[in-house]
Symmetry: C2
Subunit: 457 residues, 2 copies
């Protein structure tokens, strides 16, 4: 084969990058499990008819066809065609409905898998990427307090990555009931349309959004100004609630939906200011593109890396999963693992102490004594010390270079004279000492490759 | 949505099944890392032109197309079209060539990912399934001893699963040089064609294979009989080598290739009989369908579950990866994780002590005291004890049922009178004791869900 070129939007890491990614995955998984979330995986494919129902991402679906079927000019009907999932929420909703009889509700699950979107790749935007999701779904109903807990769990998971160089995060929250209640109170009865325009504030600015609101959502210039004023409100404490109340009073926009939304948002801000001070910020311009959110919505930025976009988003949804008789309301968030890891790697925020798991290379004096070296490696592994036997019986200098090129800290020299007088060398310091394979232990910090911040934070 | 139906060939597990799968994955990963293999992941897609080059599985490729492109009646040229990978060896070979300048050789990697094949699903045969591969590749050359080590590492990984109910395994080995040398020595100069016929022995029997050899490989009936006689040889000790030598002498089929193959096979059997007695068996009928193998080939059966087919296969390949100047010979094996896990689950070989990570449910007396319960959960998690707060302030009986339905062993009752006199109940025994959230520890065997053999083995 000729030297292949990378495919844009399909990132792959070298072994040390994968060690960083694995550390991130293990950290978030550990946090999710400590909070009682059960792990599941769903298949990569869903019927296209299902994928097409769920909001605007659907236009970026990758469809599947079998090479053989194509040759036979045969094509499945649309209801049977399969596409790759573009998120983990839609497959999860299907899994819940399909397996409802076997699950205990409220059902808390995490799911860490790749998803695919046929978009134009950009910095931090990929065609294949890994997501780590948590969701709680109830059967028929779901208490509001989960809308408070879940973003705090994500903040905890992301904060646990600070030691490896991840910048601090800010979780931005809003509540659809607040926004929609306010719009309806103003007299704008297509709140989805208002949200879609407000969602463009960062991209096109206030003037253009005001025009859009007047053209598309039937707003007067005064109503448009009120919507834009609401979106400008943000803050980490409960004074935000007072500001919204004052604005609603000014425009005489109060109603029950707004009142409910304000109670919810207040509860979230109050709890967050106790459990994760400064991390959660109410931001009334957060809209989220997906149509299925009905309560709290969340986005998360890395402080100093806002250009990357949101690295953890989600919200409350009441009608995504339903089997016709029961609905399964839920709330969930999704970490963009690939986006986050690509920044850790490409901005040199994080590094590893070596690129392989091996702690010890066992040297081979000559091929006739390879089995003696294998025995040393077996004895080390039996006590959890990753060890490999040298690929060949080259000069010791070359065998040491084999270790050095991989960052492996120790080389073991087995005695081949029957004396059992083995020695082990720390190739960083050059120190070489007598050692017994059934007893020797490496320095604790050498046992596995460590993932560390590249710069002092 | 109406109640969805499962897609055949795309298995999904309930949470306890996923716990079993995760245990299997962690066990094999741990073994791979102890032996110094570095983990990587490759993208799910490859250019179709690359996939089509690699042997007979290629006819089962799933092709990708973008929904939008299809609407626009636009199609990429064949060289640009993407397909889902059908194994992890072909993408790995591409990864090695693409990143050769950044890798240290011999390069030892493991890779645990899903693959897709558009085949007809059967018991143990899926359209989407997980594989766990190890491979070693050299630059220009690769010592033979890796062909001895790798199947022993797989045997070690699979044997580490015996405590959860996996039956013993037998690794069946053959060497293409032996088979091809013998055929050429007989005067049959299309050894690939002979192998393809021999590969059908189990399916169609000796008589039909003899006819096939005469029709397709130009064999006389005596040559066909010799090939079938060779395929019948099997055994776990070096007497196998003597049998092959005797057969070659009888048919005057000796040559250098056969001699080299016999030395290699003998070395493998000798090492295996020391390091994993009884596990590795020479079986001269093992052919492996893929064309790219050039030395040792391996298949693995679960004893008592031979109907499942091979659960771990692979071999030595010399020409799979090449950039035109350098070749990267390799040897690798792949565990069919989904096949193995599906048998553990469906044959009730393995079970879990519970279906969620949670150790403790913290009860909520009334919603006004939820924060008090949250504090208990935070204190428990801080010491690594998975805890969740009850979903609602229902009667304690109902909150205990919440734990019981999920197999969660403990329920915590926080004092709400300021006394700090919390109590924790083991809901299996009914024992309830005073406890402090910053000190209490569960029984060690309750800390995480355990994966155990369902039946005494």
């Amino acid at each position: 084969m000729a030297r292949p070129t990378p495919l844009s939007g399909f990132p792959e890491w070298l072994p040390n990058g994968r060690i960083i990614e694995n550390h991130v995955l293990e950290t978030v998984r550990r946090t999710f499990e400590l909070h009682g979330f059960a792990g599941i995986e769903t298949r990569a494919v869903e019927p296209v008819s299902q994928l097409l129902k769920k909001g605007e991402t659907s236009k970026e679906i990758y469809l599947l066809s079998r090479l053989q079927d194509e040759a036979a000019a045969h094509r499945d009907s649309d209801s049977k065609r399969l596409g790759l999932h573009f998120d983990l929420t839609v497959p999860f909703a299907r899994y819940v409905v399909e397996n409802a009889g076997h699950l205990a509700f409220p059902f808390k699950r995490y799911q860490i898998q790749k998803v695919w979107r046929g978009e134009r790749p950009q910095d931090g935007r990929f065609r294949e990427f890994m997501q780590a999701d948590i969701d709680v779904v109830g059967q028929g109903s779901l208490p509001y307090h989960y809308e408070v807990e879940l973003p705090l769990i994500m903040a905890e998971a992301l904060t646990a990555l600070r030691p490896i160089g991840l910048p601090p995060v800010k979780v931005l929250v809003n509540n659809r009931k607040v926004a929609e209640g306010f719009y309806v109170g103003l007299g704008l009865f297509d709140p989805q349309e208002v949200l879609r325009s407000i969602d463009k504030l960062d991209k096109i600015g206030e003037t253009a959004v005001s025009e859009l609101l007047q053209q598309k959502a039937g707003a007067s210039s005064e109503q448009a100004a009120a919507c834009i004023e609401l979106a400008a409100i943000s803050g980490a404490d409960e004074s935000v609630i007072d500001q919204i109340r004052a604005l609603a009073a000014k425009f005489d926009a109060n109603n029950d939906l707004l009142a409910t939304g304000l109670v919810e948002l207040q509860q979230l801000i109050a709890a967050a200011s106790v459990r994760a001070p400064g991390v959660v910020v109410a931001d009334l311009k957060i809209a989220r593109g997906l149509d299925y959110y009905t309560g709290s919505v969340y986005e998360t930025v890395l402080v100093g890396h806002e250009d990357l976009g949101s690295i953890c988003s989600g919200g409350r949804y009441d009608t995504l999963a339903s089997d016709g008789k029961q609905t399964y309301p839920g709330v969930g968030l999704s970490i963009g693992i690939t986006r986050l890891v690509s920044r850790l790697i490409n901005a040199d925020l994080t590094t590893t102490t070596r690129s392989v798991p091996t702690v010890v290379v066992v040297a081979v004096c000559d091929e006739a004594h390879r089995e003696r070296s294998n025995e040393v490696a077996v004895a080390l592994r039996a006590r959890g010390i990753a060890a490999e036997t040298s690929p060949d019986a080259a000069k010791f200098g070359k065998q040491i270079r084999y270790a050095d090129r991989r960052g492996i800290p120790y080389v073991w020299f087995p005695a081949t004279d029957g004396s059992g007088a083995d020695e082990v060398k720390d190739i960083r310091s050059g120190d070489q000492v007598r050692a017994v394979a059934t007893e020797w232990v490496p320095a604790a910090e050498d046992l596995v490759p460590r993932v560390v911040a590249a710069q002092p934070s």
